[in-house]
Amino acid sequence: MLKVDKLSAGYGNIQILWDVSLQVNKGEIVALIGGNGAGKSTLVRSITGLLGAYSGNIEFLDKKISGLEPYKIAELGLSHIPEGRRIFTEMSVRENLEMGAYPKNSWKNRKKTLSSVYEMFPRLKERERQLARTFSGGEQQMLAMGRGLMSLPKLCIIDEPSNGLAPKVVMEIFEIIKNMRAQGITILLIEQNVKQTLEISDRAYVLENGRIVMEGDCATCLASAHIKKAYLGL
């Protein structure tokens, strides 16, 4: 479904990613793990067009998307729930969600999608009219997730969704992610809760210093000594 081939990218003269290749198949949850500053977010930004790549090729649904503008990529059914939430602070909760359904196909179904998102996040329904800016950190993360789902994406890239959430909510988030998959959404998940992530994922990639250093199915990864030492703190 998503194929990244030998991607190099960075900011200005500072190269962050070096020949990164990765693949996500339909129906999978793929985990991308790596330490702070490894370049995970940079990789995602390059995929969704926020950042131009130096070289390499990206395909989504067998269509080349490298070089396309973000909005075109979004219209193809790739949803990116960015790191740091990035909600529209001056809009109400409901309007934020509606913005998520902006691409033409999803706009038509927005009412229906909205009620299913409200089901997943009752807090959002409670505060439907509140200004998103005044939400607490955790509430904002829920909103960002909900918004990402509103576009009825085929592939959803989620960048550190549990960041700053109460433990109870973190568990819920993982449930939601499983739910999403059950509804047929393919997921590329970046998470620091490495153990839990690997438990719900099918396959994983490990990114270190801008290079993929390991890939494989999750069971293997969980068993790997390197992973245990570097990411599980064992």
């Binding site: 500072i14 977010s41 790191e83 509430e139 700053g164 959430l165 109460a166 909510v169 620091q192 153990k195």
Partner: protein, 241 residues
Amino acid sequence: MHLLEGKGVTIHFGGLAAVSDVDFYLDKGEVVGLIGPNGAGKTTLFNLVSGALKPNPGEILFKGKKINRMPAYKICRMGIARTFQTVKIFGNMPVVDNVKIGLLFGAHGKIKKDTNAEVKNLLEFVGLDDVANTPARDLTLAHQKRIEVARALATQPEILLLDEIMAGLNPTELVEAMELVKKIQKKGVTVVMIEHVMKAIMGICDRITVLDYGKKIAEGTPQEITTNKKVIEVYLGESDA
């Protein structure tokens, strides 16, 4: 007398009581954890203590002195420093200058000969010495949080308020960060930390306070808190993480 004490601290945003009638205290040398569901009012409480917001009603005493009407910079100079949940760094300034500000304007704000040496020490302390001259905005979020810690430490605080500095760290990095907090405690700084990462809270806090809907619902040692029914119900969730 407690080092820091709050009595009946309350603040409303419109109709919402973000913090409501909360009493708290802090003794010298402690590491206190502040936890609670998202939106419980933890960050707001930090804002009240550090002078970004003023309680109404309620009062906050630092070493017996009322500080709840003081401007933020004075509170900082008295010895209460903080970090921010959504990082507030001086993005276009190099990391060193970020820290230098704290040193030059904090509690002992007089210019000292060894400013540069001290900044270097602090950066080493938080592990940022290799990016000292990089503009702060080019660092990752986790590193930016560490800039904030260094900057706060530079003001020579007696109390340090840490707002989710461990979010987004993987377990291994988490262990390092916990070490850092312990080192800070060893320096004689009293620490309050907001954190959702239970491992960290349980690992280093002497005492934990739990907020929910602006109210204090529990307080006690980590053991007491993890077994508290109410806390499990509203915050931790049924199966322990």
